[in-house]
Chain length 188, copies 4
């Protein structure tokens, strides 16, 4: 968690659920942002990733940690529609803001997913108070690991200071091998 | 498990997955049939009912126990389509035959769901070798309970005999209170 | 489950908990007996075997299925005493009858454990209404498997009849490789 | 996690397992200390507390976070002996240092347990790099909560500085109601 990573590119999405107005990463400076990329038909997202995101949303005050779900559909596009997502979110009682990634005209991979260079779903990104991506993980991370990383990010100052670390690498996180959907996730 | 229950009405369905030809209850006489009614957007089905059905399918030889999934959509009809179900079944690696209940022109409740008088999803029906419904349960049953009931049904003779019990009531199973989707299931 | 197995040798034990008078297998003819051999310091027994035994005890009427715990100490004899077992049974809220296997003067393996030819703990023995061992398993069996086997045994007649099967082999159950304690159990 | 809490009193123990030489809190200044108080016959410790302590021990480098188990026997003293604990630690494959609290001549409650004012087992204490108790919890905390708190403590400086917060209250943690052993723990 010592490195600054890269600045998170802004979300490029077409719809929002569970929020009265769209969120922007720029508007969330000063908070730790937990961005959970998922697909509603990804088993690892349903069994592990989304419950973890919901637990984070429940544990932290929203003025300190903002959980955002990002529906990044890269397969079965015709059935993972906004209507379907709305029914899914209703039935699974998800309460945190969820954005729908903007479909690409030329690729199966939607725009934000491309910009974030995600490998599949579930993916977890932790963005610090200054907007840098500090954790970028495809697959499963334990609650202990995620809690630890959020706790560390919360202790950092909200604004840039001359003594802040820079030029270092983001913390490496273990990678889950991909190749379609496994128990842990769906890879591109 | 002592009673004979009622004769299971024939399935009235529009599509089948995971089988080269449609199944009929009449054609399954001599086997114990495990009929698992579910919806792909029912959390209790995804977390409990379908994994239990898959475990049953894996444990028993198919010439003794036939597991059938029945997709009984009674809400969110526009998004729980056949295409969506196919993607769901593919991603969740379900291997047992799954039928799509026939939609009703006049009701949200599809035909077989009405004929079987189901209260919601997940529902588990155990049908004996002679075609009688012996267990009819809405909500969650433990693996121990379900294994016990299937084990008992397997010990019964395949054909009617003069000494077989009749006129008694089916075994009562505990009921889960309904009212939309809860952690355990979705009620009508 | 088609074979008759061998007649279960009588228990040879020194103490009983959770029962006002000692049980004998001979006195349980007509019931299915679930004999769960365990050690209080065996992790697989604590996490899996004993909860399964407790669930069986809770599910079935005691006039149909008798659960018996058998404390078969074959290691750490000096600390797995009767006093320690009593504290353990109290803290873990175990309600079914538990017997303490008789220590051997010449071996680390206690008497009943030797007579039953157990490989370690946890071990599950299912004894039919006529006193034959029908399942003899070291390690973990799923609730679905155990429920299925008990259900089948319950359907058998309580007394010997001329047409009963004989001379066949007991059902094979999957074996867990041994070698001290693993997550699943402790082998001799 | 903003308050400093009270200085942790030194451990008063009679034996150590899994360490070649005794540890002292004074000797651990500069590290975050995770002190897990347990009893080997406490079901909530075995099912939840000790696995959590083992996961913490595995996740963090020992030069940053020191996990210590503290065997605080306040009931069943005659059977939770050092020999029994050694067998328990061996069978459960616990790897982190474990201390045995010093029995009291005048009370069922051992010395360190009294000094720390513990309510029962499992109890989790998080001690910061300067030796202050920052979390003091009886019962169950989620991995997300514990990871978050450790992550925050890791970000604090190792030595006192003039600008360090002081005079504030320790973070409140949810309390589990006590009264003998429940699923979550054993209270005094």
């Amino acid at each position: 968690m010592s490195g600054k990573g890269v600045k998170a590119p802004e979300l490029d999405v077409v719809s929002w659920l569970n929020t009265t107005q769209p969120l922007t990463l720029a508007g969330l400076r000063g908070k730790v942002v937990v961005l959970h990329a998922f697909q509603m038909l990804c088993p690892g997202c349903v069994s592990h990733g989304l419950p973890q995101a919901a637990a984070i949303h429940q544990l932290y005050p929203v003025d300190e940690v903002q959980v955002i779900g990002l529906h990044t559909v890269f397969e079965h596009h015709s059935v993972m529609t906004l209507d379907a997502l709305q029914a899914f979110v209703h039935e699974y009682r998800l309460r945190f803001p969820i954005a729908v990634d903007r479909p690409s005209a030329s690729s199966a991979i939607p725009h934000t997913m491309q910009k974030l260079d995600l490998e599949g779903t579930p993916s977890l990104l932790l963005i610090d108070k200054q907007g840098f991506i500090r954790t970028h993980h495809f697959g499963r991370l334990s609650d202990l690991q995620v809690g630890n990383m959020i706790g560390q990010l919360l202790m950092e100052p909200a604004s840039l200071s001359p003594s802040s670390p820079s030029g270092t690498e983001p913390a490496a996180t273990p990678q889950t091998p991909g190749g379609q959907c496994s128990e842990d996730g769906c890879s591109i």
